[in-house]
């Protein structure tokens, strides 16, 4: 098991997942429901240029139920098998006449922490980890479930891509509307105010929350 865990360090898919779960732990979002984790993975892909981090996956199939990465799920299951990720509250839920497994996931302390700690010795991984944590902190300040809010993401909700089509925002095309929308805040803020990358993450989350029908803005001046 240890050798497999060590190999995880060199498997970008798995390491990325561990860093996402680390961010969920750091922001007290864990155990994280599976669809929320996929929503977080999608947002980390579309918003990563804000933090000067490359998108890990530049495309995704547009599902009616929201973002879901089959390969990420496969790797998540593998990490459970390796004893690096814990599963909570497993149950079956019906969605559009089909049954699927719903569960929550969290890091197993110990070996997973060692891998994350080792990864942060590398500058790239440290940048990714820093971005994931900041993204998770900004998400923790919104009230509505992320798996619902993500459907209002500028890239995901673009009407030119229908359900069942592939959204290609950074693979072959340059169509990351989410980052463009976040940059628009620079022009919309009060006269001349400089907007940092953290501000963009916060404001983007507030934008998603605002789109949610009946959502209350959690923090008001």
């Amino acid at each position: 098991m240890i050798s497999e865990a060590a190999a995880c360090r060199w498997q970008p898919d798995r390491l990325r997942l561990l860093l996402l779960l680390d961010a969920c732990e750091a922001a007290d979002l864990a155990p994280v429901p599976v669809l929320r984790l996929h929503a977080l993975a999608f947002l980390s892909n579309v918003l990563s240029p804000i933090w000067s981090v490359e998108s890990y996956d530049g495309k995704i199939l547009k599902r009616r139920g929201g973002p879901f990465y089959p390969e990420l799920q496969k790797q998540l299951d593998r990490l459970v098998g390796l004893g690096l990720v814990a599963v909570h509250d497993v149950r079956y839920v019906e969605e559009e006449g089909k049954w699927r497994i719903e569960a929550k996931f969290s890091l197993m302390s110990g070996m997973a922490d060692t891998i994350i700690s080792d990864a942060q010795l590398f500058m790239d991984e440290r940048s990714v980890s820093e971005f994931f944590r900041r993204l998770a902190f900004s998400i923790s300040r919104i009230r509505e479930p992320l798996e619902d809010l993500v459907k209002f993401d500028a890239t995901w909700s673009d009407a030119r891509t229908g359900v069942g089509d592939v959204i290609d925002f950074a693979e072959w095309r340059r169509a990351n509307y989410s980052v463009f929308a976040a940059r628009v805040f620079e022009n919309l803020s009060a006269k001349g105010a400089t907007i940092g990358r953290g501000d963009k993450l916060h404001l983007y989350m507030r934008f998603l929350e605002r789109k949610w029908p009946g959502a209350a803005v959690r923090i008001t001046r």
Partner: protein
């Protein structure tokens, strides 16, 4: 699927456990994210939706800061929310102690702590409790402590085996509300920084109080910085860190946000026709919607003997820095129609170059005519130099 690989030899590069405070300039994308001829670059978003939330800029913590400083900002917000709650006066008057962890769930489980899913809306009793929380202080876990006095509460936490984890403490009985930050935990209660919070209204006196506390608690010596707010690269040789001015500016933005809270906005590098104002403190106009009142424009200058690379800085350069700083302070005060304009000089000169605030004398007449307040803060490269300056040399 994987799009990126990094060289395996890029190890152990200056990892100190804290992220450096980044200068809050917009980050450049790694590559263009949108086609230049894209007809609808907003995708599913609309400008109206984005405009509606843009006004909330500044209501959230600075995410570029280290996690400990994010925690201080978030806790200041949570305490401010609690202090305005109707039950605030009836709550326990004991300390509220917050253990900041990036594994709050796991730590809380080991202490059988109770979960509080919402911690920052003012509804929770904070005082008289030990809290385990993440740096965002949005949710947390609490234990009721048996001890009621500060010493007993510290001892009780140390006995729980968590006295070595960084902690924040709020005392509801203090005359001036503040958060005390113990970066190495309550075991090391001598290593502490204080941050003013809940300044109810902006005045020049309240601003001075915050600026003076920032100076004396955070940056006056490398030791005061406790490893996170140290402006020196090599204090003993009076060599400042890179981008010192931006570093102090970022710290001050956070400190002012913590102190003045959500009613005030602290803008950073605000652009205008006459340049970029380092820091601008403003609040919403009481009656006119979407209008802000500018309370103070701050221009920051660092006076130094050496560059961050160790090169010498001439006295002419230092004199010019003060003169330029004054012109900038005058311009930004006018540009922003600010009620106050300040030129804050952070003096990092070596003892052999140091002449106190005399370096500001040439600027005083013009500053007076233009109603600019000059402030001078001495930064010592070592605690030994600080002691010598205060108590005299041991010879």
């Amino acid at each position: 699927m994987a799009r990126r690989r990094r060289p395996d030899h890029a190890v152990a590069d200056q990892h100190s456990g804290f992220f450096p405070i980044a200068v809050e300039r917009p980050a450049e994308p790694l590559r263009a994210t949108i086609e230049p001829d894209e007809p609808n670059p907003l995708g599913g978003a609309t400008e109206a939706d984005l405009t509606a939330v843009a006004d909330d800029l500044g209501a959230d913590p600075t995410l570029e800061a280290p996690e400990s400083l994010i925690a201080i900002q978030c806790l200041a917000g949570a305490i401010a929310a609690r202090m305005t709650h109707v039950d605030w006066a009836q709550g326990p008057r004991q300390l509220a102690i917050f253990i900041i962890s990036d594994r709050p769930r796991q730590l809380a489980a080991s202490l059988s702590a109770n979960r509080a899913p919402i911690l920052d809306n003012g509804a929770n009793v904070l005082t008289g409790r030990l809290w385990i929380t993440s740096p965002n202080v949005a949710s947390g876990y609490f234990c009721i402590l048996n001890a009621t006095d500060p010493g007993g509460m510290f001892d009780e936490i140390n006995l729980m085996g968590i006295g070595n984890i960084s902690a924040l403490v709020f005392d509801p009985g203090a005359t001036d509300p503040e958060i005390r930050y113990y970066p190495e935990g309550l075991n090391e209660d001598g290593r502490v920084q204080r941050y003013s919070i809940a300044e109810s209204a902006f005045t020049l006196a309240s601003l001075d109080k915050v600026l003076n506390q920032f100076h004396s608690e955070n940056i006056i010596t490398p030791d005061a910085g406790l490893g996170i707010t140290n402006p020196w690269r090599d204090g003993d040789r009076y060599i400042p860190r890179e981008h010192t001015e931006a570093f102090i500016q970022a710290l001050l933005k956070m400190v002012l946000s913590v102190a003045f809270g959500r009613s005030y906005r602290i803008d950073f590098e605000r652009r205008g026709t006459e340049g970029r104002c380092d820091l601008l403190i403003s609040s919403r106009h009481l009656t006119a919607p979407h209008t802000w009142v500018a309370h103070a424009a701050l221009e920051l200058k660092v006076l130094r003997s050496f560059t961050s690379g160790g090169g010498r800085v001439s006295s002419n350069v230092r004199t010019a820095a003060v003169a330029d700083g004054l012109l900038q302070a005058i311009a930004y005060q006018r540009q922003e129609a600010a009620q106050n304009g300040l030129l804050c000089c952070y003096d990092m000169r070596a003892p052999s170059h140091y002449d106190g605030a005399v370096c500001l004398d040439p600027a005083r007449p013009r500053a007076r005519r233009n109603r600019i307040d000059l402030r001078h803060y001495r930064l010592y490269g070592s605690s030994a130099d600080f002691r010598t300056a205060v108590y005299g040399s041991s010879d």
